[in-house]
């Protein structure tokens, strides 16, 4: 399980010095305003049918009445597009300047436990692979994550499977502050030092009672009982199974037959980190940009010669599954999936990645 491997950001606070606060939901606006003063705030906003994290400009936009967002909040640390270098073409050649890596202290409010966990998985790649990605690191270091427990009373979405990958509906792991909803109130508990100092600096918060604390702990306990799906998978076992099934082309073709090859699943995924880098010029000005790419696209592996090692959809889908549940285990010690169910929910043809993983596990 992921949790057993520990976290790279482990600066968890001591039990006895717990910072525990609360605020009524009516005063959510005040909390939002207070957080906004600390720096850029990212929080869930309803736009049409969907709720998504957005950089908050209007306090009233923030909503905490949602199951989960369509997109994961990974973009706060890893934006879909960012300029790395900006340049001007001149007679003598290009004049280029790197874009300074500057992130102001910011807060993400309302992150579900599975998403909070995803940040730690991404840390292994961006910080722990021998090369530290300065863009990721800078933003991670400067951001406080306020986690938000799933409501134990509400049934989980059928697409979700976070507890089968070892994450519970109210896991505090990955969060700096963890938030539980109690009737008309929000209970906020500091999980890390970063989180505690944020809470301490928020005058709008009230002190929480022992009763509140009991409710908080009870919610976490109850949420451990929330079941998403029933097949249990273990990282190393599934990793090995996948390696063994790699050559079974027919099975893969059948399992992925309905995939249309769009990039939706990878773009909504909290743990997909593949990107492309491209120089984009208009007139004489341009930028070297980094932006999300998707292994489901035909041109993801297209080589300059015209050769494509993964020309077919089943090969690309297999790559996605193998990467998340096998190669990632080998390389970073855990699977790269938090069971948030986003890919399944967003898939235009209702493909469920976990059903495929289950099939492979049962081969």
């Amino acid at each position: 399980m992921i949790g057993s491997k520990g976290s790279l950001n482990a600066d968890h606070c001591e039990k006895e010095k717990v910072v525990f606060k609360k605020i009524t939901l009516e005063k959510l606006g005040d909390l939002v305003s207070a957080l906004k003063e600390k720096g850029p705030l990212y929080a869930p906003v309803r736009d049409g049918k969907a709720v998504n994290f957005q950089k908050i400009t209007k306090t009233a936009d923030v909503t905490l009445d949602f199951y989960n967002t369509v997109f994961s909040p990974k973009f706060v640390f890893f934006p879909q597009t960012e300029d790395l270098i900006r340049y001007t073409l001149q007679k003598e050649g290009a004049q280029a300047e790197p874009v300074p890596i500057a992130a102001s202290p910011s807060v993400i409010l309302g992150v579900r436990p599975c998403d909070a966990k995803s940040f730690e998985i991404m840390d292994r790649h961006f910080l722990g692979a021998g090369i530290i990605d300065p863009y990721w690191k800078n933003r991670r270091d400067n951001t406080v994550v306020i986690g938000y427990a799933f409501d134990p009373a509400a049934p989980p979405d059928p697409a979700d499977f976070y507890n089968t990958v070892g994450i519970h509906a109210a896991d505090t792991e990955g969060s700096d502050v963890f938030m539980v909803r109690k009737d008309g109130e929000l209970l906020l508990k500091g999980i890390t030092k970063k989180g505690e100092s944020l809470l301490k600096g928020l005058a709008v918060l009230d002190a929480a009672s022992a009763q509140d604390e009991a409710f908080f702990d009870e919610t976490i306990r109850k949420d451990r009982g929330v079941k998403t799906r029933f097949t249990e998978i273990t990282d190393t076992a599934i990793a090995a199974k996948l390696v063994g099934s790699f050559e079974k082309q027919e099975i893969w073709e059948e399992m992925t037959a309905s995939c249309i090859g769009c990039g939706t699943c990878t773009f909504v995924c909290p743990t997909c980190y593949c990107f492309d880098i491209n120089d984009e010029t208009l007139f004489r000005k341009g930028a070297r940009k980094r932006f999300w790419d998707a292994c489901m696209f035909t041109d993801f592996t297209l080589e300059a010669s015209g050769h494509n090692p993964r020309p077919r959809i089943f090969q690309r889908y297999r790559q996605k599954v193998c990467h998340k549940y096998s190669y990632h285990v080998t390389k970073y010690g855990c699977i790269s999936c938090v069971g948030c169910g986003r890919c399944t929910r967003s898939c235009p043809v209702n493909i469920d990645i976990f059903s495929i993983v289950e099939k492979v596990a049962n081969l």
Partner: protein, 144 residues
């Protein structure tokens, strides 16, 4: 200074480009706002060229071809007419002022027509002012 619109012209080699040359040979005067790309046939024009021209900051786009029926390649401009007609509808529905996109059939002998159209188009575009609908704002290309 007065607003001087930039017009991107795309002219077919056989009729409109030759007609534009004729306007010069006969020393007709018209505004210098049009910059022309020569293509072999109006049917060569990919509708994306028109969209791109507006993105690049053209205040107007003028496409010129042979009169239908007189195409050097026989039927090229008949296809072009459909392509450009639908392009016009796309621009219009996207919210581009359709007066900024003109398609004219100008034969090799119609130097005066060419000059008149450029004159008229320039005047119209001056009245419309700068095109800021599709124009790429160079500094706002980044997003988070």
């Amino acid at each position: 200074m007065d607003f001087e619109p930039k017009i991107l012209g795309i002219a077919c080699n056989w009729c409109t480009y030759t007609g534009a040359d004729l306007a010069g040979t006969t020393r007709l005067k018209y505004p210098q706002n049009v910059r022309t790309v020569r293509v072999m046939c109006s049917s060569r024009i990919n509708p994306s060229f028109i969209i791109r021209a507006f993105q690049l900051g053209a205040d107007g786009v003028l496409v010129g071809g042979c009169h239908p029926g007189d195409c050097h390649y026989g039927t090229g401009n008949l296809y072009a007419r459909r392509k450009l007609a639908i392009t016009k509808k796309i621009l219009e529905f996207a919210g581009m002022d359709q007066k900024r996109f003109r398609v004219e059939w100008i034969s090799a002998s119609e130097g005066n027509k060419y000059a008149e159209i450029v004159e008229e188009f320039t005047r119209d575009l001056k009245a419309l002012g700068p095109q800021n609908t599709f124009r790429i704002e160079k500094d706002s290309r980044e997003r988070i």
